[in-house]
Amino acid sequence: MDEKLMLSLLQKNARMKITDLAAALDESKDDVIEKLTELEKKKVICGYHTIVNWDLTNTEIVTALIQVNASPEREYGYDRIASHIYKFDEVDTMYLLSGSFEFVCIVKGKTMQEVAHFVASKLACVDGVTGTSTYFVLKQYKNDGVILIEDEDGKNDRLVVTP
């Protein structure tokens, strides 16, 4: 089975019906279900999420990118410190980076105060964290490959019938 094609189809549309998925992959429904179960078990598929543009709802939400400096630990490297950070519910996404700081965390909260408070009282206090810089997001243009603002690009003005 074309696993890569299956994953890219689901990544575009996680709600695709099994019958349609099976047709698009030219496989039987049972085989597709079996493959999905296997990929879920192996954590290749980690979930079926919805990309939400919260800006268009009445929900209060702020997002911040936080650079985190940290010193590595014998035996653990950065992983133990990281685990003390990513377990916080406020941390949406976290990466270890090369370059002049160690981690970047994407943190979400209801207000700027809430995020600032989280950084000061939780994140910056984690053992091994030596510094942070916080950047609040002002506007979201694109997320997970999806453009979230008005953009004419996708609209196409093809003629109805062409050779």
């Binding site: 890569k4 094609l5 890219s8 189809l9 549309n13 695709m16 349609d20 047709a23 698009a24 992959l25 030219d26 690009d153 996708g154 196409n156 093809r158 003629l159 109805v160 019938v161 062409t162 050779p163």
Partner: protein, 392 residues
């Protein structure tokens, strides 16, 4: 004064395109769901657009060399070597054209004398037969068959060659059938081409949209390479239809001859499009592959859906068309498409728009999202069920 009288005889004898007729029908209606287009639904990759914008900003707004920008020709030749293992050099073998369309025209005109025969495949792309006729040549058609998956077989080819045959025009992967020629399919016809000495114009515009086997260019057979004119372009693989950019690849004598026509009628292809294409060949191959994967999933979906509704559809290995057989509905291709349009507001193109051998088939394009295809095929199913009901 009747201006029809003053038209040239050649123009008068050329049949209006069957596509055009259908286009007129479909554009009069509102809310038509179309499966009738022959161009990608993707917009051109941004990197290409950005490079073209930059070229305009920098004031690169002049005619380029007749043959096209040296850099672009270098990239085209590198690309044909890298992808399809055929060697051409940018100076003697390559002309950048205004779409594959111009390539087809100058290839035909460079070799055909009035009264000489050119073999074209039926069903086939709409521009070939008129192209031959405008050059004063005689189109000789080979009727391809669904049971051969619309391939050109040695028997069919042999039967069509006469002492007056100058050239053969092929197009695989094919518009409208999606038919495909593998290396071993070509091995069977290459000796015939070698022996007869005819020229082959190979329209390889859908080469990148090959889903199972690697695309094989007929120019990769060394023994007949010099007899081949490759026509290709950026429209399909790079989603660049509106840019009007293509190219021809051929031996030095033929290239020179085609360039003679090209320099008088075109001068040079659009410069900004050429700058964009350089970027495309250098850096956008991943996007080509992504688009190909999308097409492949859509093809699978359509082949299954049409077969499930009882319209026999072979699995095309390339391009972005399926070619379902609609004979079981008791309708002709024209009737089927017209009634489908009236009844369900879905536009497909009758197979006959691509030649008489297209009778009994319709061309369905999958240059549409899976969601769109799903909605459209549900409507087609309703229509087909109705037809069947009426006939029982």
């Amino acid at each position: 004064m009747d201006y029809n009288e003053i038209l040239s005889d050649r123009v008068k004898t050329i049949k209006p395109s069957g596509i055009r007729k259908f286009f007129d029908l479909a554009s009069q209606m509102e809310d038509v769901i179309s499966l009738g287009v022959g161009e990608p639904d993707f917009t051109t990759p941004w990197a290409i657009r950005e490079a073209a914008i930059y070229s305009i900003e920098k004031g690169r707004t002049f005619y380029t060399a007749n043959q096209g920008l040296q850099e672009l020709r270098e990239e085209i030749c590198r690309y044909y070597q890298r992808r399809f293992h055929v060697d051409y050099n940018p100076k003697d073998n390559c002309i950048v054209t205004v779409g594959g369309s111009e390539g087809i025209d100058i290839a035909i005109r460079a070799i055909l004398n009035p009264g000489e025969e050119m073999i074209v495949l039926d069903p086939g792309y709409v521009a070939y037969t008129p192209g031959v006729e405008l050059a004063g040549g005689i189109p000789v058609t080979i009727n391809l068959r669904q049971e051969d998956e619309f391939k050109l077989t040695p028997e069919l080819l042999k039967a069509a060659i006469t002492p007056n045959t100058k050239a053969l025009l092929i197009n695989y992967p094919s518009n409208p059938t999606g038919g495909f020629m593998t290396k071993s399919d070509y091995e069977k016809i290459v000796p015939i081409i070698k022996e007869s000495g005819i020229i082959v114009i190979s329209d390889e515009i859908y080469a990148e949209l090959s889903y199972e086997e690697e695309f094989c260019s007929i120019a990769s057979f060394d023994e007949i390479k010099d007899q081949v004119i490759v026509v290709s372009g950026f429209s399909k693989a790079f989603a660049m239809t509106g840019w009007r950019l293509g190219y021809v690849l051929a031996n030095p004598v033929l290239t020179k001859a085609m360039n003679k026509i090209h320099q008088y009628i075109i001068m040079s292809a659009p410069s900004s499009a050429q700058y964009g294409a350089i970027e495309g060949l250098r850096h956008c191959y991943d996007e080509v592959l992504k688009m190909r994967d999308s097409y492949k999933a859509r093809r699978n979906f359509l082949v299954k859906t049409f077969n499930d509704m009882g319209l026999e559809t072979f699995k095309p290995q390339g391009a972005f068309y399926v070619f379902p057989c609609i004979r079981s509905t008791g309708l002709t291709s024209d009737e089927f498409c017209e009634k489908l349009l009236e009844d369900q507001k879905v536009a497909c193109v009758p197979g006959t728009a691509f030649g008489p051998a297209g009778e009994g088939f319709i061309r369905v394009s999958y240059a549409y999202s899976l969601e769109e295809l799903k909605v459209a095929t549900e409507k087609i199913k309703i229509f087909v069920d109705k037809c069947r009901g009426n006939h029982d």
